[in-house]
Symmetry: C2
Subunit: 338 residues, 2 copies
């Protein structure tokens, strides 16, 4: 695709027609940070049809909670119900580890080989913001490609959850059974994002603990202010066993209830619209910073000041202003006269 | 201080001479986001003498762990040893809650009334980065004012820890006694930052649990790669009882051991130097973004595009590029021709 002749409308049409190879290559294009590719990616994104009917589900859970097994079996159940499923990942650790989700893909063995599923490993970028922005665009591509459900997976480390919540229609938190005292272990901020909390591993020896944990979280959720717009009994805590497949149908049923309610009340569109504004602001910040990084004047000034900053001869904030001035040019300096 | 005649050298001299009122007002100045005040703050920071002998201790712990009690009694012990102690806070929640640390100040009753202590509530800014930058400058002011120890407190929510670790010489993590299974509750990233982990509440009924917790963390720390430059037995886990005052002297002794080692090996200076570079980069990003926010051209373009972005008629990334172009002017557009 990244060739001399770039035909955004042609590529968009191929994606809409379900060409998986084109979809894969389009995701590679939006993930690229090359400026020419960014321009092409913009043209492609603008050539896509308006957002389709996909349900974008953000899924968060710490390592070991059984996320891969959940995605594998939940995804297969959705496919059995005649739905097409895409799986994307925002994995802030992948930059270091070389992409743990690649390992996950081999663990999602049946799902990854199913023609109605599309699994995309996490892009390996060092900057979390960069990963998230590109994942959001990959989500739009999957939606245009007609997937009914896009699962956006992330690992429980705070900031990535916020970004995934900002690109998902629903946010699901997957937890392991644990003693009541450990409730505090889940950051309140992440609990507040969740529309549905699933206590996994409700099977075998862990089942009694799962029952207690589920009751604990249900209690905690009742103490938290529910979102104005949602039915009173959301957010909810439910038990599942990803490995046995139990509770998955019920969980999907609850998700559909919430989706139907939000669509009916107009909240669905409101959420997507405010997410568009969120990403507009995020993209502005990121675009400006990447131009600073690539600016030769700023680069030269920064090199010049580096040593004095390092040795504490000039305050970092003072030196920073000088670099920004050299980037914007003297006429753009903030006036200090009043 | 924020008056017609601004004499940075005079103000710096007053701070160095221990004038607490001037110190307070100087911190208010560095916390201000008014552009004129930022210029004055820069001049003041550059007028300060080179960084002094203070030990900057970052202190993190989730709510309920006994942080205020620890600061009160640890601070009083340091003062009893003829040291002067400043306490600052980076509290990302204060923007919403109106500054929980203000409540803490009343709880640090004896310390806050001691003439050798200086307690500064968390600045109430909505942007975590903003809070942290200003706290770093407040730390430099306290150091210039001759405080021997500057405690920089934060709440355990991930990103704020990273920033506090980047402005501290030592990073101390305060934890409550808890069952072994809950070890995972502390984010690995935060454990990795810690030079010393203190298990608080090692008193009364909780003592046996504290002993086990301390052993668990000591074990976990041994499994983690120790920092190349530090003595082999760091990072360490120790027990304290903030309320009874036990273990505080030992904790301070360990901190001094680490400080002495780092100063002797030159690591102390290396850390401070790389922190200067970290903040140089952070300040550049922040300065540039605040200029974008205040730019009338960008503001107009952003308003013009807002509605199309909201309704999904234009991709957020495409609209963002247009705003950045209008900020930088047409000549600064990234060339798309090759």
């Amino acid at each position: 695709m990244i060739r001399n002749e770039f035909e955004p409308n042609e590529i968009a049409a191929q994606i809409v027609n379900g060409n998986r190879r084109t979809l894969s290559r389009a995701i590679t294009l939006v993930e690229s940070s090359n400026p020419d590719h960014r321009v092409q990616a913009s043209e492609l994104l603008n050539a896509l049809p308006p957002a389709g009917h996909a349900i974008r589900i953000g899924l968060s859970g710490t390592p070991g909670v059984g996320k891969s097994t959940f995605i594998e079996n939940f995804g297969l159940q959705l496919i059995a119900a005649d739905l097409r499923v895409a799986v994307l990942a925002v994995d802030p650790s992948s930059a270091r580890s070389g992409g743990s989700i690649l390992g996950d893909k081999t663990r999602m063995d049946l799902l990854s080989r199913n023609p109605n599923a599309f699994i995309r490993p996490s892009p390996s970028q060092s900057h979390l913001g960069g990963v998230a922005r590109r994942t959001r665009e990959a989500t739009a591509l999957c939606e245009a490609a007609g997937f009914d459900v896009v699962l956006i997976e992330t690992v429980g480390v705070g900031q990535s959850e916020t970004m995934v919540a900002e690109m998902a229609d629903l946010f699901v938190l997957l937890l392991a059974p644990a003693g009541g005292d450990e409730l505090q272990g889940v950051k309140r901020g992440i609990m507040e994002m969740a529309d549905i909390i699933l206590i996994n591993k409700a099977d075998g020896d862990l089942k009694p603990t799962a029952i207690r944990t589920c009751a604990d979280y249900a209690g905690a959720l009742r103490l938290m202010r529910s979102r104005m717009q949602d039915p009173k009994d959301f957010p909810k805590a439910l038990m599942v066993s990803a490995i046995e497949g139990s509770g998955l149908a019920e969980a999907w049923c609850e998700m559909q209830t919430l989706v139907a309610w939000r669509k009916e009340t107009g909240v669905w569109d409101q959420i997507r619209e405010s997410q568009n504004i969120y990403w507009f602001n995020a993209e502005m910040r990121q675009s400006l910073l990447s131009r600073l990084e690539n600016d030769p004047n700023a680069g030269a000034k920064s090199c010049e000041l580096q040593e004095d900053v390092r040795l504490g001869r000039i305050a970092p904030s003072v030196a920073a202003e000088q670099v920004v001035d050299s980037f914007l040019g003297p006429s753009r300096k903030i006036s200090t006269q009043k």
